[in-house]
């Protein structure tokens, strides 16, 4: 290839890199800026003063982090509890309207959610679930079901039927076959689905905004409030905390989500 062309391509990719990474770099700068105002192009004073504020044991941020993780863990438990049986049935048993059932789990993701959430909040208000952890967990669970149901279904579908048949021939009862053969073999896919659910819950904003108020403040809500009050340092540090699990999981998820399972997702 001609060098001029290579330089041009490099230049275009450089501009793309500026626009893709720039906002993240700007966020990171705000997280370590103690003083930064117009017209200075870079922070005047760098430091971790605001990190101490965020991580102060009595601070709101640490409490929000604990709340967020608690909600995410309960959401994982709830999703897996209903998705493992559902995924198994969808992968291995004959069900009427199977395609329609699969589609039903996609709907909460593929529909304008604000209208639904304000009415969930209204219904929850009557049930005393508004502003409770349980209420937020329920909202997150429904939103994340598409990941847990679709991925566990794919994971069960990828398990070799002959192994199950062999266990049955040796006299194992169906439930025992499931617990000792099918589930362990599908475990990596199930773990991958749990990772997706955990992230989905950790990052969820809109549902928590309507259902969690006024008592449940998750990390995304804390970040949003800090940002709207103009406290860019606190908002940026909180945002960075939210990014750590996202990027970490992105790096490990390929280990759990193997190609044979991935090819069956949504099928």
């Amino acid at each position: 290839m001609r060098p001029a062309r290579l330089v041009l391509q490099g230049l275009i990719l450089g501009i793309a890199a500026f626009f893709i990474l720039g906002p993240i770099v700007n966020l990171a700068l705000w997280a370590v800026a103690e003083q930064w105002f117009f017209p200075h192009k870079l922070p005047l004073v760098y430091g971790f003063k605001y990190w101490e504020t965020v991580f102060r044991p009595t601070g709101d941020a640490l409490a929000s982090l604990v709340t967020s993780i608690l909600i995410a863990l309960w959401t994982v438990v709830a999703c897996l509890a209903v998705s493992i049986p559902a995924g198994y049935a969808l992968a291995r048993r004959s069900l009427p309207f199977r395609a329609l059932l699969m589609l039903a789990f996609l709907l909460p993701q593929a529909f304008p959610s604000v209208a639904v959430y304000i009415n969930v909040a209204r219904i929850f208000y009557g049930l005393g679930l508004n502003g409770t952890i349980a209420g937020v967990v329920l909202v997150h669970t429904v939103h994340a079901l598409v990941y847990s149901v679709w991925i566990t279904t794919a994971a069960f579908a990828a398990v070799d039927r002959d192994l199950e048949a062999a266990a049955r021939d040796l006299g194992a009862a169906p439930l025992r076959v499931f617990a000792t053969v099918t589930l362990p073999l599908a475990a990596p896919g199930v773990i991958a689905s749990a990772i997706f659910v955990f992230l989905e819950s950790l990052d969820e904003f809109t549902g928590t905004y309507f259902v969690g108020v006024p008592d449940v403040t998750t990390l995304p809500l804390l970040m949003f409030n800090a940002s709207m009050q103009g406290n860019y340092q606190i908002a940026s540090i909180t945002a960075l905390i939210l990014l750590v699990p996202s990027i970490g999981f992105m790096l490990v998820v390929e280990r759990f989500l193997k190609a044979d399972v991935l090819a069956k997702v949504g099928a």
Partner: protein, 277 residues
């Protein structure tokens, strides 16, 4: 093994009940709520409010989401095309590493990133000034409708490009190589040979992107200051400021019609082609 259909259904039932109780029921509640007053009488007031107060915002929403969706499609095709047709392994590898960054970043964090990046004193303007492209006094804040579009495209392109590039990578390379042998330029190969073969994936990706962006609340709240604004923000405002569920639900119905009509256009189109997905 003998199959007991009842047991099969019971295995799916808990998950299904969650969707029915916490999604379909509130959805129905929302549709009904658009026509009911607080004390349960029938009314058209919600739609009257929508017409009188929010027509501009509805148009604004449609324009923003449509422009963002088109830009997402163009960026995703360009990224996918470069990954398939690029001749420099170093640059292809770099782009593969680069484009996925926003994929797992939540919209609310993307909003914060853009609030910093696009501000009058943000990194974007400062970089332009440092490069001599702008004078300090010429800088302006992009935190308005342009910022909303930039934030949406920034975040959603990663997802779209992932699907589009995946579809492009799994294409049979023989037609591409045949065209290359005949001397076709790479932009032409991309537009005339690759894109037509992946248009189903592209269409699904764009429909999903449209609907996703339509229901994001955080980005227009954080990035798009002032009026007009997007209808998700209006819905939150009617609830938080007035407790006015009638108007909020009427706006909700508008957003459902918007999402539904896009899905309908897609379905009709793919049915006509005889290959629904």
């Amino acid at each position: 093994m003998t199959e007991n259909r009842l047991i099969n259904l019971l295995l799916v039932a808990p998950a299904l009940l969650l969707v029915v109780g916490l999604f379909l029921y509130p959805l129905g509640y929302s549709v009904a709520g658009a026509f009911l007053t607080k004390d349960g009488r029938g009314t058209w007031e919600g739609f009257l409010n929508v017409y009188q107060l929010y027509t501009t915002d509805i148009l604004f929403t449609v324009v923003i989401i449509t422009v963002a969706t088109i830009l997402v499609g163009i960026c995703a095709v360009l990224i996918g095309g470069f990954l398939v047709l690029g001749t420099s392994p170093v640059l292809v590898g770099f782009l593969k590493w680069l484009y996925r960054w926003p994929l797992f970043i939540p919209f609310v964090v993307a909003g914060q990133c853009m609030r910093a990046f696009l501000a009058k004193n943000g990194l974007m303007n400062n970089s332009f000034v440092s490069l001599g492209l702008l004078e300090p006094l010429q800088t302006q804040s992009f935190l308005d409708w342009r910022g909303v579009i930039i934030a949406f495209v920034w975040k959603q392109t990663a997802f779209a490009a992932l699907l589009v590039a995946g579809a492009m990578a799994s294409l049979d390379r023989s037609t591409i190589e045949a065209a290359q042998d005949m001397g076709a330029s790479r932009p032409r190969i991309l537009v005339e040979i690759i894109v037509p073969q992946i248009r189903q994936t592209l269409a699904v990706t764009l429909v999903l992107s449209f609907v996703t962006m339509l229901s994001v609340l955080s980005v227009p709240m954080m990035v798009g200051s002032g009026t007009p604004t997007m209808i998700t923000v209006d819905m939150a405002f009617r609830i938080n400021s007035y407790g006015d569920y009638t108007t909020a639900n009427a706006l909700g119905l508008v957003s459902m019609v918007l999402a539904g009509s896009v899905a309908w256009i897609y379905l009709r189109h793919s049915l006509k082609e005889g290959q629904p997905q």
